[in-house]
Amino acid sequence: MGLKSIISTSHLSVAYGDKVAVEDVSLEFESREVSALIGPSGCGKSTFLRALNRMNDFLDDVRTSGQVIFHGQNIYDSKIDPVLVRRRIGMVFQKPNPFPKSIYENVAWAVRKFGFKENEVRERVEVALKGAALWAEVKDRLKSSAFELSGGQQQRLCIARAMALGPEVILMDEPCSALDPIATAKIEDLIAELKEQFCIIVVTHNMQQAERISDRTVFFLNGKVIESEATSHIFNRPREELTKNYLTGRFG
C-alpha cells in the first residue's frame, strides 16, 4: 500500500442477491488526485463507488466482502459507524438533488448538525459556495429556493454541500450526466480545482471526460478491474486489448 494512498480496497466484492456486481477489486486512491472509473453500463463502477462510503447499505439484499481501508481501518468492520465514514467521504450524485430548502440552508443544514455555531456555519457556507464556484451567482439570493437554480448550479450546490463538511474524499457518480455541455464544462473546471484539496473519484460514462479531468483511469468490465493506470498512459498505450477495444469504441 502506497504511503500517499488515502483510501484503498482489498479484494472487494459486492453482490446483489445472486448477481455479482463487483468482483475482487483491489485499488488504491491517493489524495490530491482525480481518479475516473469508466466502463460500459452495468460494469459495476457505480456499485464500487457506492461501496466506498457504504451507500450500498440502503439497498436490499446486498452482500459486501473484502475490505475498504480508510485511515487504516476497514470501514466494513462491525465496530465502524457508517455515518461517521460518510462524514469523511462525501458524495455527489448523478442527478442534482438539492434539498427543498433555501440555497443557504442546503449547505448550512448538515454543517449545523455537526454542532457549529451559526456564525461559523455562515462562514463555512460562504467558503464552500466560493469553493464550488457558485458564490458570485447566488450571494444575493441565498434565501431563495435551491429549485430556482439551473441544473448545473444545483449540481455545484450539491458539491458545495459536500465540501462544507470538510471531507477528505469526494465520490462523484456521473455528476455531469444530467447537465448540458456548458454546465458540464464548469463542473469539470471545478473538479480540477477541488483536486488541490480532496481525493476525488468520479464515475463517468464519458471517456473524453475521463481523459480531460482525471489523473488516473480505472477501466471496469463485468465487475472486474481490467486496467488501472495513469490516464495519459491508458488512453495512449493501453496495456490490455479489452481496454483498447473499449476506448476505440469497439464495444460500449
Partner: protein, 340 residues
C-alpha cells in the same frame, strides 16, 4: 398496390364517395404506380367506424355524471336553506348563534347553538389530539423504520381498524373505555366526552397514518440519499428533510381526520350522551351537533315544526364547518408549497 386497396376500403367504410376507382395504373415502364391518392373523407361524421359515436356519447354521459354531483350539492343546500328560512322566521339569528342554551324539546324552547358547537369542537379537537401524534408516528415508522415483514402486518391492522363499524366503537366506549377511565377518574360521568374523544381518535388514526405515510413515501429517495451522503443519521433526515417535504400531506391528513371527527355521529351519540352543555369539561356528558340530529330524527318530531326545522339548521352549520376546514386545509397546503 396493397396500400391503395387498403385506403379504398377505409374510404368506403367512412361512407364517403370514392373517387375514380382506376387510381392505380401501369406506367410506360410496366411498373404499377400510384398516380393519385384515393379520396378519403376527413370530415366529421357521427357514425364513423373510428368510434365517433362512442366518443361523443361517452363524453355526454361522463358530463352527466359529473353534473349530478353538482346538482346534488345544490339540491341539498337548497333544502337546508328552505327549512332554515322557516326556522329563522321564528328564532332570531342572533339568539341562535350566541345563545348558550339548547333545549329545543322543552317549553319554552331555547335555540342557542353554542353548546352543540362546543360539544362538536371538543370531540373534534380532543380526538385529533390523540390521533395526530400517534398517526404521524405510525406513518414515520411505517415508511422509514419498519422491517418489510412487519409492515404488511401493521398496514393490514390499520386497514382493519378503519373497517370497524363506528357503532362498535360507540358501545366499546360505553362498555369498556368509560369503566376503565372511571377507575382513574372516579368523578367521570357514564356518558362523557373523553371516552368519545378516545374512540373517535382511534377511529381516525388510520386516516392520518395512511395519508401521511403516502406523503412521506412519495418524498423522492434521492433526497434521503443526499442526506445519507452528508453523513446524517436517519432521524435527522426524517425530521429535517423528509417530514418537511411531506408536510402538506400531513396537514391534509389532519384536516381529513378533523372532518371525520366533526361528522362522526354514531360513536359520539353512544359515548358522549345527549346533554347539550356549554362546557369544556371532558368528564361530563355533552351533545354534539350530529348526535342532536340523530336524537330528533329518531324521535317523533312532526315535520314542519320548529324542532324539526332545527336539525336542518344544525346540519347546515355542520356543512359550513367541514367546508371551512377543507378550505383552510387547501389554503395551508398551498402556502406550504409556495414557501418551498
Amino acid at each position: 398496390m396493397g396500400l391503395t386497396k387498403l385506403n379504398l376500403k377505409a374510404a368506403s367504410a367512412e361512407g364517403s364517395s370514392i373517387g375514380d376507382p382506376s387510381l392505380t395504373s401501369v406506367d410506360s415502364h410496366g411498373v404499377a404506380a400510384v398516380h393519385a391518392y384515393p379520396q378519403v373523407s376527413l370530415a366529421r361524421s357521427w357514425n364513423s367506424p373510428s368510434g365517433n359515436f362512442v366518443e361523443q356519447s361517452l363524453q355526454y354521459f361522463l358530463f352527466a355524471c359529473a353534473l349530478s354531483s353538482v346538482l346534488t350539492t345544490f339540491g341539498i343546500v337548497f333544502i337546508l336553506l328552505k327549512e332554515m328560512s322557516g326556522f329563522f322566521s321564528v328564532v332570531s339569528v342572533w339568539e341562535f348563534f350566541t345563545g348558550t342554551q339548547w333545549f329545543p324539546l322543552l317549553s319554552p324552547a331555547r335555540f342557542g347553538v353554542l353548546p352543540l358547537v362546543s360539544g362538536t369542537l371538543m370531540i373534534a379537537l380532543g380526538s385529533c389530539l390523540i390521533a395526530v401524534p400517534i398517526g404521524l408516528l405510525i406513518a414515520i415508522f411505517l415508511s422509514e423504520y419498519c422491517p418489510r415483514g412487519f409492515r404488511v402486518i401493521l398496514k393490514s391492522a390499520l386497514e382493519l381498524l378503519a373497517g370497524i363499524p363506528t357503532v362498535v366503537y360507540g358501545y366499546l366506549a360505553l362498555t369498556f373505555v368509560t369503566p376503565q377511565l372511571a377507575k382513574i377518574f372516579p368523578q367521570i360521568e357514564v356518558f362523557n366526552a373523553l371516552s368519545a374523544c378516545i374512540v373517535v381518535g382511534i377511529m381516525i388514526i388510520p386516516t392520518i397514518a395512511s395519508v401521511t405515510e403516502d406523503a412521506i413515501h412519495s418524498v423522492p429517495g434521492y433526497l434521503r440519499d443526499a442526506g445519507y451522503g452528508l453523513g446524517m443519521r436517519r432521524y435527522q433526515i426524517v425530521s429535517s428533510i423528509v417530514f418537511p417535504a411531506a408536510i402538506s400531506g400531513f396537514v391534509a391528513s389532519i384536516i381529513l381526520g378533523l372532518s371525520r371527527a366533526i361528522g362522526e355521529t354514531m360513536a359520539v351519540t353512544l359515548a358522549a350522551g345527549a346533554s347539550p352543555k356549554l362546557t369544556f369539561n371532558f368528564f361530563e356528558s355533552i351533545q354534539t351537533m350530529t348526535a342532536f340530529i340523530v336524537q330528533v330524527s329518531q324521535g317523533d318530531t312532526p315535520a314542519g315544526t320548529i324542532e324539526y326545522q332545527s336539525i336542518f339548521v344544525v346540519g347546515f352549520c355542520l356543512f359550513i364547518m367541514t367546508l371551512g376546514t377543507n378550505l383552510i386545509a387547501q389554503f395551508v397546503v398551498r402556502r406550504i408549497h409556495h414557501r418551498i
